[in-house]
């Protein structure tokens, strides 16, 4: 292709670089600002001197949060949830998507199952009935309350089955001629080639579990079982004192400062920010293939 370097073209290319850089900087700024605040002095933060560079550098807020039991235990709960939730979800997604990717001819009940799942994408019973089911099934205050109700994600199944479907039918036929059963075909033929889709779904599921906050609030009976985001919400939302005594005035002064909140927010972002760039190649591919957003 012949690239014609006219002056106006060059101007466009340069300004394009500048515009995109500015753009990315805008996206990044709030996050850097948080990071800078978390290691700045309280007075500098209050005075508004901190932008993206720490002022009065210190690690006080990090010293404070590593001693904060509630914060630490919520991180543990979140990781536990991540591990169980992602492995269960992936297994269920693969197992459900594979049969559904087969043509009607091969799997006659396919459309019945499809509709069975699709209905749940549109209708849901809402909070109270959902709560009652979780309670009746004995999951209250257990980590499974955060995992089982959301273990089957129909979007992910659709994404996965669309991927399976793009694979040539000969793949399966040749395996079966070799005498491989269905389970083995899935395990040793399909799974190895599904890496991009699996990585995409894994990423979505990780993000979902890491970011979920509402269920922790409702299903957990003690704050020590709160996952991270649920804990964070309790520190971000308003404080409401229902009685005033001289002692409370002193307690009030102990309520986390902005720097501590910034530190907690920043620490909470880290795991996700560390994972996604490595999966970028996969999710871009997986997403385009599935053309469905999770």
């Amino acid at each position: 292709m012949i690239e014609r370097r006219t002056p106006s073209r060059r101007l466009f290319v340069y300004s394009n670089y500048i515009v995109l850089t500015l753009f990315a900087a805008t996206c990044l700024f709030p996050i850097l600002h948080m990071a800078a605040m978390s290691v700045s002095s309280n007075s500098a933060v209050t005075a508004g001197w901190v932008t993206i560079w720490p002022v009065g550098f210190n690690l006080d807020s990090y010293n404070y949060i590593v001693k904060n039991q509630a914060f630490l235990s919520s991180i543990v709960v979140s990781f536990e949830r991540l591990l169980l939730g992602v492995s269960l979800s992936l297994t269920l997604t693969i197992l459900a998507a594979y049969p559904l990717s087969k043509p009607n001819l091969k799997f006659r009940s396919r459309s019945v199952y499809s509709w069975f799942f699709v209905v749940t994408m549109i209708f849901n019973g809402g909070l109270i009935p959902g709560f009652m089911v979780v309670k009746e099934t004995g999951l209250m205050d257990s980590i499974w309350a955060l995992i089982l109700p959301t273990a089957v994600n129909v979007y992910n199944i659709v994404l996965m089955l669309n991927f399976f479907r793009t694979q040539p039918a000969e793949l399966e036929e040749s395996a079966q001629i070799d005498g491989a059963g269905i389970w083995r075909t899935l395990w040793s033929i399909y799974l190895p080639i599904s890496k991009p889709s699996l990585a995409t779904i894994a990423l979505f599921t990780i993000i979902f579990h890491w970011n979920a906050w509402f269920d922790g609030l409702i299903f957990m009976n003690s704050p020590s079982n709160y996952p991270l985001q649920t804990y964070l919400r309790t520190v971000i939302v308003s404080h409401d004192l229902t009685n005033m005594s001289a002692n409370d005035i002193t307690l009030l002064q102990n309520i986390s400062s902005r720097t501590v909140l910034a530190a907690q927010l920043f620490v909470s972002m880290l795991p996700v920010l560390c994972i996604y760039p490595f999966l970028q190649k996969y999710f871009v591919k997986g997403l385009v293939l599935g053309s469905v957003k999770g």
Binding site: N68, Q69, A70, L127, I128, F131, M132, K135, D141, L217, I218, N221, S222, P223, S224, Y226, R233, T234, V235, I236, V237, S238, H239, D240, L241, T242, N243, M244, S245, A246, N247, D248, I249, L251, L252, Q253, N254, I255, S256, L261
Partner: protein, 566 residues
């Protein structure tokens, strides 16, 4: 109250007062009220003598278990652990002294989360044995048969002291928990009078400009004008503001406007009786016009900050901290927060509280409302409803009975004592703080501090420190000391000045759905008039618009409630 913003202390404290509901009769004729701490016979001997069959203080033998929903207050949220709660002296005390094993059914942290947790619990029909609920949640519970009718249990097991405290400001607290003749909850009362507005003024500025403490709205105007124009802080710049004022000026607390409306016999957001004895909504009564005209004048002449509409109460209060303001209308605790900050920054400053001003020579009536912190309910599935009453008895006896200093300090003293947030059920004495002030004043007069209870002694010691030059403790003098805000509070009480909000029931249907919108419209219109974008000439139009928005329905329901109560 699902405010999503991280609010600052002033708002927190203000929300304490917003929580309050209304009290009945403003008359304090109830002879139990001036009983000082310890006057009530509540030792087990006298109690068992009065009712031989049921000793309210008898220990359970064998012990009983009770499961409670634990709402962890934000004030202790950062340091709270479940183990600390379960091992706290409170839980031990309940076990050792009452034979009651208190166990957590669940914990929940933060007001917002608590609301969700309780809501979901009620919806699913399974509440803990004992639970603290809000007025609205109690109203929902009243439609179910999930909770005990506590009437007989309360009569039988509550000690005279407990009864005295819960009925201290009249029967309104109990009435507000009564549905169809059944007492569905024990109201955890709190002080209504502690929410009353005061006029806080910089005495050092008044002295410097040779002015008197304003008593009328006209005098207040003169003072404000002088504070703005005569450079009271002496820095040679015209950078002082007159009146602290914030955008939620109808919310009592700090930098509020309610106290000024009261000066004109206007009682925004309160239900008051009109000439015919019907209950009407204070925000829509013609008296507010005078207040609005007055405020508009202050605004026009720059005596209120031009951008008050963008400032919440804590932001508005910053002007006090930076030594730029000389007048603040707010609650008795303003001397601690935010006005202590002025003292921190300007050691010579001297804020003092006075009664609110009046439009004429008659004293104004500060408006207050019934203040029930929590309604305590007992699940019908639980077979010992009296456990709740005993827990409250334990609290009242500890706080206001003949309790030794060490005993009090163990529970409610300075850390490591856990403090009141760990108590499962509590009811505050309405005049606890006033009583503390009176006792402290007496102690300074006689020089004998030995009669003070532990809490009062704490204040007393801090005031002594202040008098010895420690400005950080000025706040205790400003509230509880001889010149403290409670001096004016005593005047309010003795002259029976309070204007009680007459509605103290649970939100009615229309109230739930419409009142928020109505109040929003009120704020909009009031703000516009103050800023000069609208005038009081449109007041009638404004009122008819409110009625269209549902004020008429709400008023009808409130009056139906009022009639049913009689």
């Amino acid at each position: 109250m699902t405010k999503k913003m991280k609010t600052t202390p002033a708002v927190l404290i203000a929300s304490v007062l917003m929580m309050s509901a209304l009290a009945a009769c403003g008359n304090d004729g109830n002879d139990a009220t001036n009983a000082s701490a310890g006057a009530a016979p509540s030792g087990s001997a006298s109690a068992s003598a009065s009712s031989a069959a049921t000793d309210p203080n008898a220990k359970f033998d064998p012990p009983v278990d009770v499961k409670v929903g634990v709402l962890v207050n934000d004030a202790i949220g950062d340091t709270f652990t479940e183990e600390a709660w379960e091992n706290s002296v409170w839980i031990q005390g309940y076990r050792d002294k009452l034979g009651i094993n208190v166990k957590p059914e669940w914990f929940v942290k933060g007001a917002d989360a608590a609301k969700q947790k309780v809501s979901v619990s009620i919806a699913s029909g399974s509440i803990p044995n004992i639970l603290a609920v809000t007025k609205e949640q109690l109203a929902t519970l009243s439609k179910t048969d999930l909770v005990w009718d506590m009437k007989d249990v309360f009569d039988k097991y509550a000690t005279p002291l407990t009864k005295e405290i819960i009925t201290e400001e009249g029967n309104a607290a109990l009435d507000s928990a009564t549905f169809g003749g059944k007492l569905l909850a024990i109201p955890g009362t709190n002080s209504a009078i502690d929410g009353a507005p005061f006029l806080w003024a910089r005495q050092d500025w008044l002295d410097k400009l040779n002015l008197q403490v304003p008593k009328t709205t006209d005098e207040l105007y003169t003072v404000l004008k002088a504070f703005v124009e005569q450079d009271p802080d002496g820095n040679g710049k015209k950078d002082t503001i007159g009146l602290l004022f914030n955008k939620d000026f109808l919310t009592a607390g700090v930098a509020e406007g309610v106290g000024l409306f009261n000066a004109f016999d206007a009682y925004p957001k309160a239900w008051i009786r009109d000439a015919s004895g019907k209950l009407v909504y204070g925000s829509a009564q013609p008296e507010v016009k005078d207040a609005l005209v007055y405020l508009n004048k202050l605004y026009k002449e720059g005596l209120i900050e031009k951008d008050f509409g963008a400032k919440d109460s804590s932001k508005a209060a910053e002007a006090a901290a930076s030594g730029k303001a000389g007048i603040n209308i707010g609650a008795m605790w303003n001397g601690m927060f935010p006005l202590q900050q002025t003292k921190d920054n300007f050691p010579d400053s001297n804020w003092l509280a006075h009664p609110i001003v009046s439009k004429d020579d008659q004293p104004a009536n500060p408006q207050i409302k019934l203040n029930v912190e929590n309604y305590y309910v007992v699940s019908k599935e639980y077979e010992h409803p009296e456990v709740l009453v005993k827990l409250i008895n334990f609290w009242t006896e500890l706080n206001y009975g003949k309790t030794s200093q060490e005993e009090f300090d163990k529970y409610l003293g300075a850390p490591p004592a856990p403090g009141h947030h760990y108590a499962v059920a509590k009811a505050w004495k309405a005049k606890k703080n006033l009583q503390a002030h009176l006792n402290i004043k007496e102690a300074f007069k006689t020089g004998d501090a030995s009669k003070l209870n532990a809490e009062e002694k704490g204040y007393y010691d801090n005031i002594v420190k202040f008098k010895n030059g420690d400005n950080a403790n000025a706040q205790y003098e400003k509230v509880f000391g001889e010149t403290g805000s409670f001096t004016s509070m005593e005047g309010y009480v003795n002259n029976n000045l309070f204007k009680m909000d007459e509605f103290y029931g649970a939100s009615t249907e229309a109230m739930k759905n419409r009142l928020a919108t109505i109040d929003q419209n009120v704020m909009e219109y009031f703000t516009k008039v103050i800023m000069g974008a609208d005038t009081v000439d449109n007041f009638d139009k404004f009122v008819s618009q409110l009625n269209k928005l549902g004020l008429e329905d709400v008023t009808n329901e409130v009056n139906a409630w009022d009639t049913a109560k009689k």
